[in-house]
């Protein structure tokens, strides 16, 4: 797992370079969600360049579509497209690497960007898989600010109602959104109890700890008769050090030269530390 941990900091550097190149992006959420995506794509999910037409593959929908840079970095790591290509072309005029996920790109199942869509869509994908007795597991990642969208709770309701144990929803609980803390903007207190009340199995983990995340996804596979929600408690900007961690403005701030150097140095330091743990 230490190689994977080191990799997450390399992938964050890719995100940093995309955002610097485009002068746009949502870096804070990219850094908080990176460990979740890395464990799912590089450890857990049966998704590859070769099996995207196999109905027995796993399915993933990036509900918090604004963290597309982290998604692109992981998909490039999986070989869906070239890392250099996405870094140089992201958000540029006419680019296929749009600022939210688009399924004209290989590896992306559904377009997103408007929040509150991923979970209900995944309910449908999971229902289809179950009707066909397929082994597919279905994953979505949502933001915690996104939970204010009513459609999220329609999705929780249907997932619980249909007892979709092939469905796993992950919440990137970084506790910050554009205007401030989630608790200031729209309280998400008692989240675990609320999701459980919709008939879900809930697991809380440190969402920037690869082992805890991996264990949670393993546990989810053993839960029968109900879907699982992993509340991944993360740090917004994780890996960016004192410059950007836990700071709301970094939701979509573009680093200046000095900040770029500081963040790059911090990512490199953490990568080396991970390798020597």
């Amino acid at each position: 797992m230490k190689e994977l941990k080191a990799k997450t900091f390399e992938l964050r550097k890719d995100v940093l370079d995309m955002i610097r190149s485009a002068k746009a992006g949502h870096i804070g959420g990219d850094f908080s969600v990176m460990d979740i995506l890395a464990v799912l794509y590089l450890k857990q999910m049966n998704i590859s360049v070769e099996n995207m037409d196999d109905p027995n593959r796993d399915y993933f929908v990036m509900s918090k579509g604004h963290s597309v840079e982290a998604y692109y970095a992981v998909l490039a790591e999986k070989g869906f497209f070239k890392r250099e290509e996405v870094i140089s072309e992201f958000s540029k005029f006419g680019s296929k690497f749009i600022g939210h996920p688009n399924n004209k790109l290989p590896g992306i199942e559904m377009n997103s960007g408007s929040l509150g869509h991923g979970l209900p869509v995944c309910v449908g994908i999971a229902l289809a898989a179950r009707k066909d007795h397929r082994e597919s597991r279905v994953y979505t990642v949502m933001g915690d600010g996104e939970l204010a969208e009513g459609s999220v709770w329609e999705g929780f309701m249907a997932g619980g109602h249909y007892k979709l144990d092939n469905l796993c929803a992950v919440i990137d609980r970084n506790k910050l959104q554009i205007s401030g803390t989630t608790e200031e903007v729209m309280s998400q207190e008692n989240l675990e109890a609320r999701v459980e009340a919709f008939g879900w199995h809930v697991i809380q983990v440190n969402g920037n700890d690869l082992d805890e995340l991996n264990q949670a996804f393993e546990e989810a596979k053993t839960v029968k008769g109900k879907p699982t929600c992993v509340i991944a408690n993360t740090i917004k900007g994780f890996g960016g050090g004192s410059v950007m961690e836990n700071k709301a403005p970094w939701h979509h701030k573009v680093p200046n030269d000095e900040e770029y150097a500081q963040i790059t140095e911090e990512l490199e330091r953490r990568k080396e530390a991970a390798l020597h743990e």
Binding site: P55, Y59, N103, E109, M110, N111, S112, G113, S114, G116, H117, P120, V121, C122, V123, G124, I125, A126, L127, A128, A129, K131, D132, S136, G150, S151, E154, G155, M157, A158, H161
Partner: protein, 309 residues
């Protein structure tokens, strides 16, 4: 008088096709009765999904089912499925290009007495404005059946609006000419062109008969394919006519009339008069009473024709 509403015609086609096609899935939002889909839920419980009163969920779950290889038909009153779940239709269906057929039942002012909350006078405008969304308003039960059979053959998004009440037949079992995305030409007269869709086709045909008695020859286009509009047939007929009347069960903006005016105005400028519901909440009443009040009937079309010709 026919007593089979178009929604029942849809159910009959899906019941028949679902015998062999296990990928057909019908979804309802506590609307199976209004959708005439109870027989389908009874016959194929494994191919039926109830989502409760949650139209956003209805559309997103349908998109997910399509992603998972299914052929979902999502039924909900047109007033809700067109605008309550508009964003889901835009992002999860049209933009993501999922094979979802959205069926707006009790469309237009079918629920005449229930007020504006239950009227869908904006659905054509809303749905037509979404790239990759097709919009169909079939006129009678025979055409509805042909349309649904054809839509089952493709993998693309579509919105279909039907009314609640039975409408008088225009076609018959033996004689229902249908070509996908081509208007059906009813009668050939070169003085006036009447373009109609959905429940307004019947009064348009009746009006053409009344005008003929007065010596005015009119062509009626059953433009069930509002998007993609059959501009080829439209322009061919409009270029020969002295004037064009459009009639639809919709708000006066962004519907069939707007699209016909745009196409004719751009390509073969002629006088085009749009007949539609008013830009205000409509008067309370049964749909027939409401149509008559706003002169959305054969007599109203005749009067309009005599006024402009």
């Amino acid at each position: 008088m026919n007593n089979i509403p178009n929604r029942k015609a849809i159910c009959d086609v899906l019941l028949e096709k679902a015998k062999d096609d296990k990928d057909i899935i019908v979804l309802c939002s506590d609307s199976r009765g209004s959708a005439s889909m109870s027989p389908f839920f009874d016959a194929y419980p494994e191919q039926a999904v109830e989502v409760g009163i949650a139209e956003q969920n209805l559309v997103s779950i349908s998109a997910g089912l399509a992603k998972g290889g299914k052929k979902p038909f999502a039924f909900s009153p047109a007033c809700f499925i067109s605008t309550r779940s508009y964003e889901q239709a835009k992002v999860d269906v049209a933009y993501s290009n999922t094979n979802v057929k959205l069926v707006g039942i009790s469309g237009g002012i079918s629920y005449g007495e229930l007020g504006m909350s239950h009227h869908s006078a904006q659905d054509i405008a809303a749905m037509s404005a979404i790239p990759n969304m097709r919009v169909y308003l079939p006129s009678d039960r025979f055409q509805t059946a042909k349309l649904v059979e054809t839509l089952l053959q493709d993998q693309k998004p579509a919105y279909i609006r039907v009314g609640r009440n039975p409408v008088e037949d225009i076609y018959s079992e033996e004689n229902c000419p249908f070509e996908m995305d081509k208007a059906t030409v009813l009668g050939e007269g070169e003085e006036l062109l009447i373009v109609a869709c959905g429940e307004m086709v019947k009064p348009a045909v009746e009006a053409a008969g009344l005008l003929k008695e007065k010596g005015i020859e009119a062509t009626v286009l059953d433009m069930y394919c509002v998007k993609p509009l059959d501009t080829e047939t439209l322009l061919e007929k409009a270029s020969r006519a002295r004037a064009v009347i459009t009639i639809e069960e919709h708000a006066p903006f962004g519907g069939l009339g707007s699209m016909v005016s745009q196409a004719v105005g751009t390509n073969c400028p002629k006088k085009v008069v749009n007949m539609a519901l008013p830009d205000s909440p409509v008067i309370t009443g049964k749909s027939r009473e409401v149509f008559d009040y706003y002169k959305l009937n054969a007599q109203g079309i005749v009067e309009k024709a005599l006024e402009i010709l």
